[in-house]
Symmetry: C2
Subunit: 419 residues, 2 copies
């Protein structure tokens, strides 16, 4: 495949065929009036092509406010492709092409970008994850089983010293992974450099005793050069992970961090709902995670089963599977899915079952911190839940001989949809 | 004002008051279970505060798919504020706070961020536009009246040499401004460096004769370091403007370009529809343009009257006014609004009238290129339309003595909504 293929679900007041033609024109050689300079040779070289059109339904009213009106709004699925020569392997320019001036077209009353076919030339032209699943397991010292993580809470408000004290307790409790909250960047109340120094002092010293260094994802999100300096500081302190807010630093910012960082990039998707919650406009996670992997994300958030947000379990499961699926024949670029958001011992087993493996990072905040017997018991309860699933036992049965798990199940009401 | 204030229009299955509390908690010190470490002192220092709540209506069904259901979904407007100490003047971290993990909350069935109150400490802590309106007029040599611009079309497909030939014609036709299309970055078919060199050769040589250099906004959109190199090349060639795709390079990328660039930043918002077209989820342009100005955008696209997209004239007018409105008492950070999309001689006068001034850049593609007497007549027709408006004459009357304007009005059907 030498063309980039994007598939959209659309609805249109002018019919799916005509709307698809406008989309292809607008996003390549056309404008609202055909110009003499748009020659056949130029079109042959650079025009977007309609590869597939499928009519799926019709509606009597437009899904989104639309300047053009019609008696019926036809719905369908269209695939458009572009020659790689239009943009080369440049993700920022690809974004402007497949997700640019399309969402506003008056010829569309709904549009979602739902699939993206990655040509080998793009997969090989992008760096992809530097560590992925295997590299992360190695750095973390967790050869098998779900990696157990937590988030520093309260999200924001702890001083650097208080953060380090909390981290010390969590390290003693044998956690695998800790992350800053996405609200904790480099504010004056908890400066990044102070936090990094104090936390790594604790974790380096704990590693001396345990022989295993807890991975801490420091939220480096900031301006580009500040993020690079943050990474340099992290490296000098012996830290093993850098976290960024994808929607704050953008596709170019992500790639800049990938190119600069000797550490895995923990990619947080906060703000994701804006891009995907509406059924009528947006981008599917299956698409965005491909671009974020191409640009170099090692860990990608996928929400969690029975989360505090609004995505249902099917969406979450498909997102996690997508992150593990090979990106192209040429380069798989597999990343590590991160389950997070209202997670407790109840969701460990179902996550393993639905994903079909345990190559994921399972982050619980309250699910660890609010365990009645303390964080260590909270962490143990999650490992016990994984052991139960691996042994093929019901978690409630396994809990009979495992008091930490029993206490967790009792404390955190089951909200997981079980089949 | 020492706190950052964000106002949201929301709808909720749990009531506006409760939903607002969840929003404030989620975006500051809270999580789904209250932790012992969330002390009163910590809350006093760092918690988000509910400043205002207003109930505006109710609905029997949720506007967006929502995991929580209710008999009624209450609608309202809520203002939440944060202490600047939580994030400092860091726009990427502010974005994660005001537009982060909110859009997905199960307690919300609709959410739009509609206003942002900028504290002086933020306005003074950010660079803002380097050139703005006055600096752009000076560089362009257009002391008064609307600045007239065009877009290289076909959007993509011309070689560097063909682009320079087109630019030569446009310079001879006395245009003020030309921009690359957002689809034209640095693809193998039209490499950035080749294009920049050939185009600036033409424009420098034209300036020797005319005494005035056409401003060309080269689309530098790419990875961070490549964009910096692109800017360096532009500076060495005597170019006077750099264009970026905001949604491709992100807030941190924009700021990096502002800090590096000796040229004005022409900020293109392609993909904007994704953030704002749904009435139920998104961010208002009045908010995003503030952040984009703080980060250093000199020119900001606002669509155009009677455009080929779906925004109506009120939205466009309000967007243009917003870009010209002072950002805070401490620093106005005013930017130049750019009208674009299906613009012709018909829309010049109404744009001046609705905005109340002529401090804008008016970009017409087909409206110049497709003028029956050629691009020079197209450009003249736009200046004549501005003169008519300034003289207080109807454009149709003014056209009687101005053949270029008459031909434009006849060729491009009026689609402007006139009151």
């Amino acid at each position: 495949m030498t063309r980039l293929k994007a598939t959209y679900e659309i609805e249109s007041p002018v019919g799916v065929q005509r709307a698809a033609e406008v989309m292809a024109g607008e996003q390549s050689t056309g404008t609202f009036m055909r110009l003499a300079s748009e020659t056949d040779a130029l079109r042959g070289r650079s025009a977007a092509r309609l590869d597939h059109i499928e009519i799926t339904g019709t509606s009597s009213h437009p899904a989104l406010p639309c300047r053009l009106s019609a008696e019926n709004y036809e719905q369908g699925r269209v695939t458009i492709s572009w020659p790689m020569e239009n943009f080369g392997p440049s993700l920022p320019n690809i974004l402007a092409t497949v997700a640019g001036n399309l969402f506003e077209l008056a010829e569309l009353s709904a549009i979602r970008l739902v699939d993206l076919g990655i040509p080998n030339a793009l997969a090989t032209g992008c760096p992809g994850p530097q560590f992925g699943i295997a590299g992360t397991r190695q750095l973390m010292g967790v050869p098998s089983g779900p990696m157990i993580g937590t988030i520093v809470k309260p999200s924001v408000g702890l001083s650097a010293k208080q953060t380090a004290e909390l981290v010390s307790d969590l390290a003693k409790a044998d956690i695998d992974f800790i992350k800053d909250d996405e609200l904790q960047g480099n504010g004056p109340a908890c400066p990044f450099a102070d936090r990094a120094k104090l936390v790594m002092q604790v974790l380096n010293s704990a590693a001396q005793k345990s022989g295993r260094k807890v991975m801490y994802a420091f939220n480096i999100t900031d301006e580009i050069d500040a993020m690079r300096r943050n990474i340099d500081l992290l490296e000098s302190l012996g830290a093993t992970c850098a976290m960024i807010s994808l929607n704050s630093i953008g596709m170019a910012g992500l790639r800049a961090m990938r190119d600069h960082s000797p550490l895995p990039i923990h990619a947080h998707r906060n703000g994701w709902g804006l891009m995907s919650r509406s059924p009528h406009i947006g981008v599917a996670y299956s698409v965005m995670q491909k671009l974020w992997r191409l640009a170099g994300s090692d860990h990608l958030h996928v929400n969690g089963l029975a989360n505090k947000f609004t995505e249902d379990d099917d969406v979450v499961t498909n997102s996690a599977r997508a992150v593990q699926a090979p990106l192209s024949e040429a380069r798989p670029h597999v990343a590590l899915p991160v389950f997070s958001s209202g997670q407790t011992a109840w969701q460990v087993g179902p996550s393993m079952e639905l994903l079909g493996n345990d190559d994921f990072l399972f982050c619980a905040g309250g699910g660890i911190m609010s365990h009645p017997d303390g964080p260590a018991a909270g962490i143990t309860s999650l490992r016990q839940a994984a052991a139960a699933q691996k042994a093929g036992e019901r978690v409630e049965d396994y809990a009979k001989d495992h008091p930490e798990l029993a206490a967790a199940l009792a404390t955190f009401k089951s909200t997981v949809n079980r089949n």
